[in-house]
């Protein structure tokens, strides 16, 4: 090789070579020629001046980006645990172009083959009738869904997308480890890895030309569009996800955003007249194509798995009617049966008349006597896997004799349910672990989509690194270390962006405004929760400030004022008894434990921690609607929530924490206003905020004025109210004079220009409601009528009359006004619910439970 070889005497490369075991194959280092393989030379040439340490910065940067983009986010973080840690190794897997071309041919053949198998198993079943595969392999596999029999998409290919897990053996040949067919995940992650790599790789590496990934996603879109293009230019395509609790929800949202389709859950869709409809804010909208990320069985609770809450009842009948195309088609999980691997050469011969380009890892299906005997005799050399379900893999080599016996019994009881698989010697690839370059086993997931009668492969893939390098390696299904996959290219791919292909497709843009009702509801609640969090934080901060400053001049009046605020806090957050219970005097004297509980006790409804967790959950469930900048602030809020779970016991430090939270919340709401299109979704988000802010404002004002207090306390309270509402400075500038109730009310209740005033919220709500889609245009909607009454009521009030106190010292007119506003707003929220949100009722199963009574003695035989 080049003289470059002689120069690779940098320490790290030498260290790397020393770790390679003789006889093992490494992707980068050729043990035979003792040199770096040509494909890696451009990369190493650039690297050899760098050290692995130089990759530390990109590695951390990748970690930050992954975290910020939410790829590592897990909705289960309500328990404050990141269940997954996804790391990106900045060193890619590099494959030479000719290597890839061979591989590409192999995976294309395999996709084509599996499409044929799928069509056969749900069609003629020639493979079974001609004894190419044994019937148990299909009939006993729960993935064979009999209701899907003879159901077809109206195009030639049924399998629209497909993924294959590969590993290179010690002989240099790629082997297939597994096939993913029902809703193969990972293409979105591969894209995300590439996007991050583009940001973090050192300048020096940029000249290396690598195949781009765009074309694949364009093909995917074309393939989907083609499912209906015969009669529809503006096919409505949605991405169906099981929801935020799914492990791969991030990817669903990412793909939906990238491909430009709405992300929906089962509840968002409904079947009517044998067609599928999306429940949107503007009414029912027809859906033509569903790109599903939901498992087969969960898709239709009527015909498939009955207890599924993620599906759409009647969906399969709509598919049968060919009024909707779902892909991959339902029933595809039969293709994930690893027992098929044992028969693939024969199947290929039978269906395609050719031989299999890409071998599968050696597999024995125990349903056949000879294979069963082989597996039982060679147990320790094999991995035992069930053909379906969540049962774990068995590694007999790591079992005791007793456990092995048990396993053997298990296999013999249901032989057709198990396979034995060889563990091949795999190739390694250099990976950065703890600052050092280490050879690690890897697995490559490749992706294909059907477009125009052929399968297009993603030139790249998701490379995952084995957890350890010893003996029986196991792969984490999610997370762990991933790598970008570089297929070297002789020429630069023409960069294209995802664009509508034909002018006809342009009309699909009109679809963008369509917001699923569930997403609308989530946005409304995101608004309410974020405002609730802000309101609680502010009042907590005001109260802590008072407590901290009290020691110096703790007058009776100061104390009284604090007590009123504490009670106000309990009422505002709805966390009774708190500072309203029987032991209230005790609580007043030592408020810190209760205050800390209100901050961190996530089990307690109304605590800051609970409200923030609810906010995050709602925000995550519409992950596809946030800009990346906005998402970063959501992620920051998540970080602060992490700190709140174990808050500093020093109230001063806690105050700083609240300061940071309030600033971040403001950043979030500000970014939302600036980056979200001001259409239905944003209107509902803002409506949620305004309604919540009004309700909090009313509650606190009521707490301050619904009792007779002496003038000094009254004065202190008004000041606290103004501080809490960020209005003290305005008040001083405007009124200079001593605080008077009249002025305070003018500023906090009636001022339409003060963003903290009640009147401001109400007018804003009125304008937002006017923007919402309405069915009946001729008269005011119920929401409009309620808000009109409220606005008018406020406009007719004057600060002077509101401030007047009756003989009992209470401002009755003010309290009456607040009361009315409060009930109007609650009614408004209720009406909005009924009008716009999907009324998600609990679905229940109706099954005539028993074929019954035929009493034996009534029968005359």
């Amino acid at each position: 090789m080049s003289n470059f070889t002689n120069e690779t005497n940098s320490d790290w490369l030498q260290q790397y070579q020393q770790q390679l075991r003789p006889g093992f194959l490494d992707e980068m280092w050729s043990g035979e020629s003792l040199c770096i393989k040509p494909a890696w030379q451009p990369l190493i040439q650039q690297l050899h001046s760098l050290t692995p340490r130089a990759f530390e910065k990109p590695r951390l940067e990748a970690k930050r980006l992954l975290q910020e983009n939410g790829i590592t986010y897990n909705v289960h973080s309500q328990t404050n645990q990141y269940l997954r840690s996804w790391q990106l190794d900045p060193l890619p897997l590099v494959l030479a172009e000719h290597d890839w071309q061979l591989l590409e041919k192999g995976i294309q053949q395999r996709a084509f083959l599996f499409d044929c198998i799928l069509q056969d198993l749900y069609g003629e079943r020639r493979l079974l009738k001609q004894n190419v595969i044994p019937p148990e392999l299909v009939f006993a596999h729960p993935g064979f869904q009999r209701p899907c029999d003879q159901v077809r998409l109206a195009v030639s290919h049924q399998l629209m997308h497909f993924a294959i897990d590969l590993a290179r053996g010690a002989d240099g040949q790629f082997w297939v480890l597994a096939d993913r067919a029902q809703n193969p995940s990972g293409a979105g992650y591969a894209l995300e890895c590439r996007m991050i790599m583009n940001r973090i790789i050192p300048e020096a590496l940029r000249p290396i030309t690598v195949h781009r990934l765009y074309h694949f996603f364009q093909s995917w879109r074309n393939g989907l569009q083609a499912l209906v293009s015969q009669h529809l230019d503006d096919a409505r395509i949605v991405v169906l996800t099981p929801g935020p609790d799914s492990d791969t929800y991030y990817e669903h949202a990412y793909l939906a955003t990238y491909l430009g389709y709405p992300l929906v859950q089962g509840d968002d869709l409904t079947v009517r007249d044998g067609k599928v409809w999306l429940k949107s804010l503007a009414g029912l909208q027809r859906v033509d194509i569903i790109l599903r990320r939901t498992d087969d069985l969960a898709c239709d609770p009527l015909e498939l798995q009955q207890d599924s809450q993620q599906g759409v009842p009647g969906l399969l009948q709509a598919v049968r009617n060919q009024t909707v195309a779902i892909n991959n088609p339902l029933g595809t999980s039969i293709l994930e049966n690893p027992g098929l691997l044992a028969f693939l050469p024969a199947i290929t011969k039978n269906l395609l008349g050719e031989s299999l380009h890409l071998p599968s890892i050696a597999t024995w299906w125990c349903g056949q006597k000879t294979a069963l005997n082989y597996v039982l005799a060679h147990l320790e050399q094999l991995v035992i896997k069930p053909i379906f379900g969540n049962e774990p893999y068995y590694y007999p080599a790591m079992m005791t004799i007793n456990e092995q016996q048990q396993l053997k019994r298990k296999i013999k009881q249901m032989p057709y349910f198990y396979i034995g698989q060889q563990q091949p010697q795999l190739a390694t690839t250099p990976t950065l672990i703890d600052d050092k370059l280490q050879p690690r086993y890897y697995q490559l997931r490749t992706f294909l989509v059907a477009e125009g009668g052929a399968y297009v492969a993603l030139p790249g893939g998701l490379t995952r690194i084995a957890n350890n390098n010893e003996g029986w390696f196991q792969w984490q299904t999610n997370g762990g270390i991933s790598k970008d996959t570089w297929i070297l290219s002789h020429e630069v791919d023409r960069p294209i962006r995802l664009q509508p292909l034909t002018p006809g497709v342009m009309t699909a843009l009109s679809y963008e405004g369509i917001l699923p009702s569930r997403a609308a509801e989530s946005l409304f609640w995101v608004g309410r929760y974020i405002e609730r969090a802000e309101g609680s934080s502010r009042l907590l901060r005001t109260i802590m400030d008072r407590i901290n400053n009290q020691d110096e001049c703790a007058s009776e009046a100061d104390q009284r004022c604090l007590y009123v605020l504490l009670t106000g806090l309990t009422l505002m957050t709805n966390t009774q008894p708190g500072f309203t219970g029987e032991d209230v005097n005790q609580q007043y004297k030592q408020p810190t434990p209760e205050l800390l509980s209100l901050v961190r006790d996530s089990e307690r409804i109304g605590s800051l921690a609970q409200v923030l967790a609810a906010f995050l959950h709602a925000a995550f469930s519409v992950r596809d609607l946030w800009s990346s900048d906005t998402w970063r602030t959501i992620d920051d809020i998540d970080d602060i929530l992490g700190q709140l779970y174990c808050p500093p016991t020093d109230l001063g430090d806690l105050q700083n924490c609240l300061d940071e939270l309030i600033t971040t919340i403001m950043a979030f709401t500000g970014l939302t206003a600036e980056s979200m299109p001001h259409e239905s979704g944003w209107y509902l988000f803002d409506l949620g905020r305004r309604i919540e802010r009004s309700l909090l404002q009313i509650s606190l004002t009521q707490s301050c004025f619904n009792q007779t207090l002496d003038d000094t306390v009254d004065h202190l309270l008004q000041e606290a109210l103004l501080v809490n509402n960020e209005s003290l400075i305005t008040h001083r500038r405007r009124y200079r004079a001593l605080q008077q109730m009249e002025n305070t009310l003018a500023l906090l209740i009636l001022d339409e220009t003060n963003p903290r005033a009640l009147a401001y919220q109400i007018y804003r709500i009125q304008r937002l409601i006017d923007h919402l889609p309405r069915h009946q245009q001729r008269e005011y909607s119920a929401e409009q009528r309620i808000i009109l009454a409220t606005t008018t009521r406020l406009r007719l009030a004057t600060a002077n009359t509101l401030a007047q106190r009756g003989e009992d010292g209470l401002p009755h007119l003010l309290l009456k006004l607040l009361d009315e506003c409060n009930s109007n707003l609650l009614e408004l929220a209720n009406t909005l619910h009924h009008t716009y949100f999907s009324h998600t009722e609990q679905a229940q199963q109706l099954t005539s439970m028993s074929a019954e009574v035929s009493l034996p003695n009534e029968v005359n035989v």
Binding site: R125, F139, D273, Q842, A843, S848, E858, V861
Partner: protein
């Protein structure tokens, strides 16, 4: 030729309104070599917004419908006219020298590929009849080596008939066969499931049948309307004669008084009425079945 007019009415009353429902009914009798369904009409109230008919994987008639108007009662009535032929495939009395059960697979050459393939569907465990050691243990004594298959099956259903008490209300769909065996009681579907499980544990194909059985009135009294019920039994494949019905609940071979609605691996494949409803609270269910003989024709 016997002709029956069957009226099968299912009536649900809900405590809360149901806003919509999606249902699937398998309530129209099949057409079979010894059974002809002249017509079968399904009437649903309130009337469905849309409905579809199809034949499922096992050859059963499926009527699916959805209702989108709020309702608190749902009625599905099916009226069918079915003719059955008394000439059974099985000679009477049944021959005792049939193929031994343990040589079953050596006598299938004449069965066509498709039928042979479908037979596998009925040998493997199914959702409601999983593999069970307990079931196999119960089966064993009916299957000594070389015993003729017909003999073995007759012995099995007769044992079930004598060992088990017919007791409605004890079991539900989710009651495992182990419990039925332990308590020795159940209803027709439990007995059918048990017999099927036994046969499958011996490697023999057995199929679940849902249908009706014509019953007689008490002596001297007119037959009351609506006292009949749906029934369940099983089909066993006898190499010389094909699929043949056996009724462990009544300890007899199915004859012209048995009317087949649907067949499958177990109850889950033939559930007469399935549905997903939104709302509804609790429900009260009333089922009325009437099997009326409209015509008897005897051959001389």
């Amino acid at each position: 030729m016997n002709t029956f007019r069957i009226t099968h009415t299912t009536h649900y009353v809900y405590t809360n309104p149901v806003s919509r429902c999606h249902n699937e009914a398998r309530m129209s009798p099949m057409n079979l070599p010894l059974q002809t369904c002249a017509f079968s009409k399904v009437h649903v109230s309130p009337s469905p917004r849309s409905s579809f008919q199809r034949i499922d994987y096992f050859g059963n008639h499926v009527f699916s419908f959805d209702i989108h108007q709020q309702h608190q009662e749902l009625t599905i009535s099916v009226i069918s006219e079915v003719a059955t032929t008394p000439t059974s495939k099985l000679p009477s009395p049944p021959p005792t020298n049939s193929v031994p059960w343990d040589q079953f697979y050596q006598h299938l050459e004449h069965v066509n590929k498709h039928k042979q393939l479908m037979m596998y569907e009925f040998i493997l465990p199914s959702p409601l009849i999983p593999q069970s050691r307990c079931v196999k243990e119960y089966a064993l004594s009916s299957f000594p080596p070389d015993r003729p298959l017909l003999d073995a099956v007759n012995d099995l259903i007769s044992r079930i008939y004598h060992d088990f008490k017919y007791e409605p209300g004890f079991s539900t769909l989710s009651t495992p066969l182990e419990d039925v065996i332990e308590h020795r009681k159940g209803v027709c579907q439990d007995f059918a499931h048990l017999a099927i499980g036994c046969l499958r544990s011996m490697g023999l194909p057995a199929m679940y049948i849902s249908g009706y059985l014509e019953t007689d009135s008490p002596p001297g009294k007119p037959k009351l309307t609506g006292v009949d019920a749906s029934h369940a039994w099983l089909n066993v494949f006898i190499p010389e004669f094909g699929w043949q019905g056996f009724d462990p609940t009544n300890n007899q071979i199915a004859n012209e008084r048995y009317i087949v609605i649907a067949q499958g691996r177990d109850y889950a494949d033939v559930t007469p009425l399935k549905g997903v409803i939104y709302g509804g609270g609790h429900h009260h269910l009333k089922v009325q079945v009437d099997v009326a003989r409209t015509h008897t024709h005897t051959f001389n």
